[in-house]
Structures are given as structure tokens and as C-alpha cells.
Subunit: 97 residues, 2 copies
């Protein structure tokens, strides 16, 4: 069994984190399609839990030297933009409190 190189480890780490971010995006898309009330507490709790889990993975990957802090911020930021876009398709007004 060959051991992975340092480059393979860092590339795999970033790939995995982007996959996990994609999974959250898909989960939220399914929820928004199926829930009649996207503002309900259960929906927000699922999102909070998933975002917390991803942020812990990213923080660990940064500390472990697999990705840079900047790469980590980028993954979160891109996910947030995609979620904001999904919201904008469902919610009538983004300024609505």
C-alpha cells in the first residue's frame, strides 16, 4: 500500500471540504423545496448545525496545515453566497425581517 504524498493530502483535504460544502447546499435546496416555512426554527437549526460542523472541519484543516486560512474562508464564503441565492429564489424580499 503506497502512502499519499504531502501534495495529495492537501489536495484531497480541499476537495473533501468543497464536497461537504456542496452537501450542505444540496440539503438546504431540498429543504427549501419541501418546507412550507423556510423560516421555521427546525430549518434554521439544521443549517446552524451543518455550518458549525463544516467550520470545525475547516478550522481543523487549517491548523493541521492542509489548507490556508484564506482557502477556508473562501469555501465558507462561496457556500454563504450560494445559500443566499437559494433564499432569494424562495423568499419574496431579502430585506424582510
Amino acid at each position: 500500500m503506497s502512502t499519499p504524498t504531502q501534495l495529495e493530502l492537501t489536495q484531497r483535504a480541499e476537495h473533501l471540504l468543497r464536497e461537504d460544502a456542496k452537501k450542505i447546499e444540496q440539503l438546504i435546496a431540498v429543504q427549501l423545496d419541501n418546507l412550507t416555512a423556510p423560516k421555521c426554527p427546525l430549518y434554521e437549526e439544521v443549517l446552524d448545525t451543518q455550518m458549525f460542523g463544516l467550520s470545525r472541519e475547516i478550522d481543523f484543516a487549517v491548523r493541521a496545515g492542509l489548507i490556508t486560512r484564506e482557502q477556508g474562508r473562501e469555501i465558507i464564503s462561496e457556500l454563504e453566497q450560494k445559500l443566499a441565492h437559494l433564499y432569494s429564489l424562495v423568499l419574496p424580499s431579502p430585506t424582510q425581517g
Copy 2:
């Protein structure tokens, strides 16, 4: 700046995970020292959140090829034993519902 070797990356990963497990143990020890009701919902929520975060870090480290599934299970199992010991010092009877 020298890039870390593959061995350094895997060793650092395991060290970080054990540190994170230690932090949860210390957090729970402080809580048990200070809370009059260790069975209160807030206490259990903090523990659940922390254990979830650690399990996500470990799962990521396994998938990224940094530690084995077995090493991951060992870190969680050792932490659970330490928490059970902390509980046993505070709660009068382990069989008490």
C-alpha cells in the same frame, strides 16, 4: 518556508485531535465543578455540541487519510471514559435515571 512532510502532517493531525478532546474534558470538568445541576439541559447541549464538533473533525481526518478509523474511534472512546469518570465523581449513583 519548508513544507511539512507527510509524516509531520499525520502526526500533527493526531496531536491536534487529542488536544481538542482534552479541551472538551477540561470544559466538562469546569462545568461539573461549577454547576449545581449537571443533568440540566444547557449542560447536555454544550457537551453534545462539543462532541459533534470533535466527531466531525475526526471523520474529516479519517477521510483525508491523516488518521485511521481505528485511531479516531480510540480518541472518542478515551474521551468518553474520562467523561464517565468525571461524572462518577459528581453523580451519586451511575444507575440513577
